[in-house]
């Protein structure tokens, strides 16, 4: 992350020492998440919105439905498009720095952890099958980037989606602003997707790294979970995992599912 300075690098070495001993600098257990707050529906202009605070990491997500044409290979389905922006709000370096490969990666992983969970019936987003469908644009803005942007982005996106209402259309299939249909986007509520991201620091597996812990991380593994089902995964960074470590992370993520799916469900107003 481009806003890391030399102080962070010193901290990063301390963190390595500390985690070797099974402790985290902020007192958390290795597999403990930071404090999580979710506020939804606070934006008058968006079709759905959410503000997620995971420790100091903050992501705002907003939904806009757009009428578009379906993909040729799924003419009777709507679609979704998740975009993450590491804006200048969280660090001005994101503006002046190199292409935001981090934003692309984190956004893609968060997207995949929703897309394949079957929580959305994309058929329900069709308007005129083969011709016109709704595309759900999920735009996420990093307001503060203090680690684990993948899970925070996924949480913001899914809770904004669950908060969203589908706009009414006029006879020409144009959206009528500020008027909504009754139906939500046919969320299949037993399939709430949760993203769980691990880092490997000093050969230990930890959850929900903050920015300085991420600096010390050698390998990262993200899982998209629905119940005891895995819907996506993503291994990144230059280090390695053994098969046993992978299996441990799968079991741990599934174990965390109940807690997070309840938090997500409770975010609905």
């Amino acid at each position: 992350m481009s806003s890391i300075n030399s102080v962070d690098l010193v901290n990063s070495k301390e963190i390595l020492e500390s985690i070797k001993l099974g402790k985290r600098k902020d007192g958390r257990d290795l597999l403990e998440y930071r404090n999580l707050e979710i506020k939804t529906g606070f934006l008058p202009s968006a079709d759905g919105s959410s503000w997620v605070k995971l420790g100091n990491t903050e992501i705002i997500a907003g939904i806009k439905f757009v009428v578009g044409t379906p993909y040729p290979d799924s003419p009777d389905k709507g679609s979704m498009s998740l975009n993450l922006e590491l804006s200048g709000l969280s660090s001005p370096n994101f503006i002046t720095g190199p292409p935001q490969i981090d934003a692309v990666e984190f956004g893609r992983v968060a997207d995949r952890a929703i897309r394949h969970a079957n929580i959305i019936n994309f058929e329900d987003l069709a308007i005129v099958p083969g011709e016109k469908v709704f595309i759900a644009f999920i735009d996420c803005i990093a307001v503060n980037a203090d680690g684990n942007l993948i899970d925070a982005t996924q949480l913001a996106a899914i809770t904004a989606l669950m908060n969203a209402k589908i706009p009414k259309l006029d006879e020409n299939y144009n959206i009528i602003l500020k008027e909504y249909t009754d139906k939500d986007i046919s969320m299949n509520l037993k399939n709430i997707p949760v993203s769980i991201t691990f880092d490997k620091v000093a050969d230990k597996i930890i959850l929900d790294s903050n920015q300085v812990e991420e600096l010390a991380s050698s390998a990262r593994f993200s899982l998209g979970i629905v119940g005891d089902t895995v819907t996506s995964c993503h291994k990144t960074k230059g280090g390695v995992f053994s098969e046993e470590e992978i299996n441990f992370m799968i079991d741990t993520a599934v174990g965390k599912y109940a807690e997070f799916s309840k938090i997500i469900l409770d975010s609905r107003k």
């Binding site: 934006l43 968006a46 079709d47 907003g62 939904i63 200048g88 969280s90 503060n144």
Partner: protein, 234 residues
């Protein structure tokens, strides 16, 4: 004088709600709800500027960005900044430059980022008002506070702080005015419309009074977070 659609008097502002220091890692920040406008502003810096040839040896460079989130408007907006966004960023940055003691920080940059999360007319004034508070929250030495507001005409009345519905009136004129307070110096003035010069002078005058109300609100917000003996700029 009839009441306005939302029941306000002509010189009444929409309700404002503010929180300072919302973004932990920024040097200063502000979250502002102003009617149905929602804006978040952060300040980072001053810090050394890179690449070097952009530096000014006499003062800090103020780099201000005004952005509308894709979901902040009726139809989804492309995240790519439009010409309008660039123009607003430029003039808003200039308006804040006059409030910050930039000459104390040569060869540095002060980054000010504002994102409109929800919009309903008057977003550039809301963004500047929030950014000015974020600058104060960052502890930057200031010459004053920039207080911004829209002043205009709709349905034959001169009114402050227009809504989107009022902006769409047949005879609507909308002037964004930014005022360095308490000095009452004009640092931002933008208008598109069709208005006799005497009427427009009146609007500017009303706008200056509106800016005083915004200033009162800003002072209260700062005093609440940073209680001091006496007033902040006096």
């Amino acid at each position: 004088m009839t009441k306005r659609l939302d029941g306000r008097k002509n010189d009444e502002l929409r309700p404002m709600k503010v929180e300072l220091g919302v973004v932990k890692s920024a040097d200063g920040s502000c979250y502002l709800e102003w009617g149905n406008n929602t804006v978040i502003a952060t300040v980072h810096g001053p810090r050394p500027i890179f690449p070097k040839h952009l530096a000014n040896s006499e003062k800090a460079v103020v780099d201000y960005r005004y952005r509308m989130a894709p979901f902040s408007v009726g139809e989804r907006k492309s995240p790519v900044p439009a010409k309008r966004d660039k123009e607003i960023s430029l003039v808003s940055g200039f308006s804040l430059e006059s409030a910050i003691q930039v000459e104390k920080f040569p060869n540095t940059v002060i980054d000010i980022d504002t994102v409109i999360l929800s919009s309903n007319a008057g977003t550039r004034a809301a963004a500047i008002t929030a950014a000015s508070l974020a600058c104060a929250d960052a502890g930057l030495p200031m010459n004053g506070i920039v207080s911004a507001v829209a002043s205009g005409r709709a349905n034959g009345e001169f009114i402050l702080d227009l809504t989107k519905e009022e902006e769409d009136a047949e005879d609507a004129v909308d002037t964004a005015i930014g005022v360095l307070m308490p000095q009452k110096e004009i640092v931002l003035l933008q208008m598109d419309g069709f208005v006799k010069k005497e009427d427009w002078k009146k609007m500017i005058s009303i706008g200056l009074k509106g800016a005083e109300k915004v200033y009162d609100f800003q002072k209260n917000a700062l005093l609440k977070k940073y209680p001091v003996d006496g007033d902040i700029n006096e």
